[in-house]
């Protein structure tokens, strides 16, 4: 699947596709799974299940990209995962296989579905019992309601004769309250047997219960309130996200920089994806350099200067520091150094050069050579008056160099940098 021909689009668009289709599929899956349970959207656990179903394809999509089963910039892969993630778990899609025991993850998920269904059943019984108990306590305490219930039951009973007989046969206990309860029980049971679905509505129509009580417990009220609150919360979350995307320029910029750094450093990114990020980051380097050069007056304001410095550090440091990672790949190192050298500017040197010099300590031999070449290129372009010392300029990195040797080179580099910084080109 990783080599599957598909339009290559930005990863965030693919993740958005997976999420949108995942939400639609999750909605229909939850409705199908819990179809036997009326008002299932009235329960927080249903919404929890829905959220898990919606998030599952997104996590699976990321995971499949991580194990290189597909690319997260492939539009076809995004559609395949969002619509067919159950088949992927079942292993019935050729070319997309989950490694190891990952497919066993589906079993606890199914157990969770059963647990949610069971919980809904328990809660629904609880709500019916509570409604019954509340209404019965209201009726028994109010003679008018009791009389009204008797009329309602006698007019709706399937077997009036049997009901009247059972009412007459109720023996007196000598306790008026208990007698009233026993009569109510007989009437209530007959009403529930005769009108099992509409008894709540009939009680409301007779004025025995108020509309909100009927609506809340028997008339979808809870489902509507909880669904409304959940949809409202989702809309608020979307609103905040939109505000962040379209109004909070600084946040959006920082988010985009982090996103492109992630893509740029990702070992299994497609060439097109890496090129997109390279273009974005190069543009950001140029903007940062021109802002530093042209806005020196403005940047003398300490607050603005600090903000600008943080912005440039956020842009440069994570990339250059990646060179210190002992297992940094040749391709990654080459890309990072190409970006740094192509976008060199005297005003950015302070953010780039010290980190590059420090990276000489831990990088693999081949990468150390690339860093040295990058330092030479930057020196020639931006600090021509101060040459790199021979310790660095003529250094050919070897495989088994001791930490002491490396430290000597780094110290020589830092001494040079202190001098060079004073003589940089304007």
């Amino acid at each position: 699947m990783a080599g599957f021909a598909s339009p290559d689009i930005p990863a965030y668009v693919c993740y958005a596709i997976v999420l949108v289709f995942g939400v639609v599929v999750a909605w229909s899956t939850v409705n199908r799974t819990l179809q036997g349970y009326p008002d299932h959207w009235a329960f927080a656990s249903t919404w929890g299940l829905f959220s898990a179903y919606a998030a599952l394809p997104v996590v699976l999509f990321w995971f499949l990209d991580y194990v290189e089963a597909l690319h997260d910039t492939s539009i076809l892969a995004a559609l395949l995962v969002s619509l067919g993630y159950r088949q992927i778990f079942a292993g019935s899609i050729q070319g997309v296989t989950l490694p190891g025991q990952a497919s066993a993850f589906w079993k606890p998920f199914e157990a969770w579905v059963s647990a949610v269904a069971d919980r809904i059943g328990t809660k629904q019984k609880l709500y019916l019992d509570r409604f019954d108990e509340k209404v019965r306590s209201l009726i028994v305490a109010d003679p008018t309601r009791m009389a009204s219930l008797e009329t309602l039951v006698l007019s709706n009973s399937r077997d009036v004769q049997a009901l009247q007989t059972s009412l007459q046969q109720l023996s007196a206990t000598g306790n008026a309250e208990a007698d009233k309860r026993r009569k109510l029980d007989a009437l209530w049971r007959d009403l529930r047997m005769s009108q099992p679905r509409d008894y709540g509505w009939l009680l409301y129509k007779r004025g025995i219960v108020r509309f909100w009580r009927y609506w809340m417990w028997l008339g979808n009220g809870r489902a509507r309130i909880i669904s409304g609150v959940s949809v409202g919360a989702s809309m608020v979350a979307l609103g905040v996200l939109s505000w962040w995307m379209f109004m909070g320029v600084a946040f959006r910029e920082a988010g985009l920089i982090r996103y492109h750094q992630w893509r740029f450093l990702k070992p299994n990114a497609t060439e097109r994806d890496q090129w997109r990020s390279m273009e974005f980051l190069a543009k950001q380097f140029q903007i940062a350099a021109s802002e530093t050069d042209s806005g020196m007056e403005r940047l003398r304001d300490p607050e603005q200067g600090r903000h600008h410095e943080q912005h440039v550090k956020l842009l440069v440091s994570p990339l250059v520091r990646e060179l210190r990672f002992p297992s940094v790949g040749d391709r990654q190192a080459q890309s990072i150094l190409a970006l740094v050298v192509n976008c060199h500017a005297p005003s950015l040197g302070v953010y780039v050069v010290p980190d590059l010099i420090e990276s000489l300590r831990t990088a693999p031999q081949g990468v150390r050579l690339q860093i040295r070449n990058a330092l030479l290129a930057i020196q020639r372009a931006d600090y021509p008056k101060t040459k790199l010392p021979d310790t660095l300029a003529k250094w050919e990195p070897k495989k088994d160099e001791s930490p002491g040797d490396l430290d000597e080179r780094v110290r020589a580099g830092l001494v040079w940098w202190r001098e060079a910084e004073q003589t940089k080109l304007p």
Binding site: T33, L34, G36, Y37, P38, E110, V113, S114, A117, D118, G121, T122, Q124, K125, L128, D129, D132, R189, R192, M193, P196, R197
Partner: protein, 83 residues
Amino acid sequence: MDPMKKFDPNELKVLQAVRRSAMDGYSLLSTTGLGPQDLVDALLKLEGLINVKGELVEARIGEAYVALPPSNRGFVDMVLAKV
């Protein structure tokens, strides 16, 4: 769940009703047309296949809540398809 198991007509009536929707005992009595004791007997025989919340006694069967778990829906569909 034994696929070869034979279900009596009362059990099948209960299965048909709860396959459509979970419901309380009163609704189940009305939907299936069974008497309270027959319903209790059928529900006892269907233990493990359907989920019953509440007491399985004749006097309180109306207040029970009966549902078909999603994991057993496929089996019940197979049983009902044979009828």
